[in-house]
């Protein structure tokens, strides 16, 4: 995905003649030995990728076609039953719909706020470093820990948020933040935005700092207003960083699990069950690894398709 940077680096530094290559008699065996050594250094990576990535990937494909109860192991082929079972599950389409809705809401709110934060702390005025650290700090806390933290924060009996709202006179009774489908969704979005806004701020900050100062100065000389500068300079030149943030945010949200597992447990009334939660339920509560594998394959396919489309869209807009 990010292979471009190192490639450019090698192109800028053509390999200088190695001392070992200077004597033609030694060149061939030396090169051969360097190949062997390179393979040796790459071997641990190759073992990891093969055993813990490629093999499981093949296995999940096979599992999706077999009858595979959790405790009994492989019971032989039953294709395409796992796939039809998935489609017939009453939770499947609601989970797909909810996951897409959640992804859309999180992406808009999170990236909007992250951009605001990046703009706030981009200039090196006093305090910018302090604010950067503060905004990023929730990012160092794990998602499951953050979900447990907000679970306490949202509690109608002991949590402070409900009391603050009552104190301000905005509500009369304790608020049940996780009690209705809509408020459970919004409460989760708030948690996720709190946790990740600083991380995306950092990505956008890198992009902002790569825009040359001269461009802004030229625009100011031409009498452009702040709004005009933002629309016609900052946003277009920030596009690569925005695209990367979008890709990470969409992929991450489509695979959401921890926050819903801990905070809402899928409730109320299964209104916040995501697709990955469905995989977990199929495998470890309904004890059917085959169906869970089939669902995994469908998710993998959808993500690959989405990423391929996004890359194509990005490349096309790069060319124009």
């Amino acid at each position: 995905m990010h292979v471009k940077a190192p490639d450019r680096a090698t192109a800028e530094h053509p390999p200088p003649t190695r001392p070992a290559d200077r004597s033609p008699r030694n060149a061939a065996p030396r090169r051969h030995s360097r190949r062997i050594q390179g393979l040796g250094y790459a071997a641990p990576t190759a073992v990891f990728v093969t055993v813990f990535f490629l093999l499981p990937l093949l296995l999940v494909g096979q599992m999706s076609l077999d009858d595979w109860p959790l405790l009994a192991g492989d019971q032989g082929v039953n294709a395409p039953e796992n796939y039809t079972d998935v489609m017939d599950s009453p939770l499947f389409w609601p989970a797909v719909r909810f996951t897409l809705l959640y992804t859309a809401v999180v992406t808009v709110v999170l990236l909007g706020l992250a951009l605001l934060l990046a703009l706030l702390v981009q200039e090196s005025r006093p305090g910018a470093g302090f604010f950067r650290t503060v905004y990023f700090l929730p990012g160092a806390v794990g998602l499951a820990s953050a979900s447990l933290l907000f679970w306490g924060l949202y509690s109608p009996t002991t949590g402070p948020l409900s009391r603050i709202l009552e104190h301000l006179g905005l509500v009369d009774d304790p608020v049940s933040f996780l009690g209705t489908p809509t408020s459970a969704l919004l409460s989760t979005v708030f948690l996720v935005v709190w946790k990740f806004a600083g991380f995306y701020m950092l990505i956008l900050l890198v992009g902002l700092q790569r825009i040359p100062h001269e461009v802004y100065e030229a625009a100011r000389m031409d009498g452009a207003s702040r709004g005009q500068i933002f629309r016609s300079i900052t946003l277009p030149l920030l596009r690569p960083s925005l695209a990367l943030s979008l890709l990470l945010c969409v992929t991450g949200s489509l695979l959401a699990f921890d926050q819903f597992f801990v905070l809402t447990k899928g409730g109320p009334d299964n209104s916040t069950v995501t697709v990955v939660q469905l995989i977990y339920r199929e495998a470890f509560q309904r004890l059917n690894l085959g169906t869970a594998a089939a669902l995994s394959i469908l998710v993998l396919g959808a993500l690959l398709l989405l990423n391929a489309l996004q890359f194509r869209g990005l490349r096309r807009s790069d060319e124009s």
Binding site: M1, H2, V3, K4, A5, A9, P15, R18, P19, A20, R34, R35, Q37, G38, L39, G40, Y41, A42, A43, P44, T45, F48, V49, F53, L54, P56, L57, M63, L117, L120, G127, F131, T133, V134, Y135, L137, A140, V141, G142, L143, A144, S145, L148, G152, S155, T158, L202, I203, V206, P240, L255, D258, I279, Y280, A283, A292, S296, L300, L303, L304
Partner: protein, 273 residues
């Protein structure tokens, strides 16, 4: 001068307001974990009652902390070891299959966590690594490889070739050059990779949830989440808040200590899109 200062005021008001919102949950949680709440071990006044509940919960806090520490150390060591060697290979050597292997390593990013955890659950069973902290660490290290390998490849490519060559001319083998010359030069990259791997391993929830079934072997996030679910109907908010503090403090401290390197790692192009 005055108008400039005035022009900055709204900026600072917005920035400070947001800072309060971002800090509030952390500060509140730390305060709530030591203050009085009905239905917790801290019914009145301030104190460490909730932490005492946590100390004695199920297998005991020390056990869970030990599990988390072991998994994190193993994951960081595996990630650093593999990505150091791999990054060196990808940056400095030509060998058959190099590009394919690098692309496959990056492809780990494209595959959903859950898609791999189901077959890994079966596979680790066959390798007799099911329900083991070593098996969990191997899986967590694999998920770190795309970022770690990429980061280490960039770090090695940023080191001038002359440095390594002079070591080779002086009679070092490539292993000697790596150890004596390259290792100090790529230290910032190693710190970023190590911090990343630590935070991921310490905080991970779904991998231990699926791969660890023995509550004696649960890492801390899993134990604290279970604490909330299994407290016999009555919800102990206080102990959960104490658990969140124990989980978060090492991450916050480590981040504050290493943030210069971390942010520099980002800025130096690890995320050039």
């Amino acid at each position: 001068m005055l108008t400039r200062a005035l022009g900055r005021t709204p900026h600072y008001v917005v920035a400070a307001g947001l800072a309060v919102i971002f800090l509030f949950p952390l500060v509140w949680n730390a305060w709530a974990s030591v203050s009085a709440q009905p239905g917790t071990a801290q019914e009145s006044g301030y104190g460490l009652g909730n932490y005492r509940t946590l100390l004695d919960y199920d297998a005991g806090l020390w056990r869970y902390l030990g599990n988390s520490a072991l998994v994190s150390v193993l994951t960081v060591a595996l990630t650093l070891g593999v990505s150091l060697l791999g990054g060196y290979a990808f940056a400095r050597f030509e060998f058959p299959g190099k590009n394919l292997l690098f692309l496959l390593t990056l492809a780990i990013l494209m595959v959903p966590y859950a898609t791999l955890l189901i077959p890994l659950y079966v596979l680790l069973g066959r390798l007799h690594l099911q329900n083991s902290l070593l098996g969990l660490s191997l899986v967590l290290a694999m998920f770190q490889l795309p970022f770690a390998t990429f980061m280490m490849r960039i770090s090695f490519e940023a080191v001038p070739r002359e440095l390594e060559e002079s070591a080779l001319v002086d009679g070092c083998g490539t292993a000697g050059a790596l150890r004596r010359v390259m290792l100090p030069a790529v230290r910032p990259g190693l710190i970023t990779v190590g911090l990343f791997a630590f935070l991921a391993a310490w905080n991970d929830f779904i991998a231990p949830l699926i791969l660890i079934s023995d509550s004696q072997k649960a890492p801390l996030p899993l134990a604290v989440a279970n604490l909330r679910q299994q407290s016999m109907g009555a919800v102990d908010y206080g102990a959960t808040e104490a658990g969140v503090v124990v989980l978060a403090v090492p991450c916050l401290l480590l981040f504050l200590l290493l943030q210069r390197h971390y942010v520099r790692g980002f800025m130096s192009g690890a995320l050039k899109g």
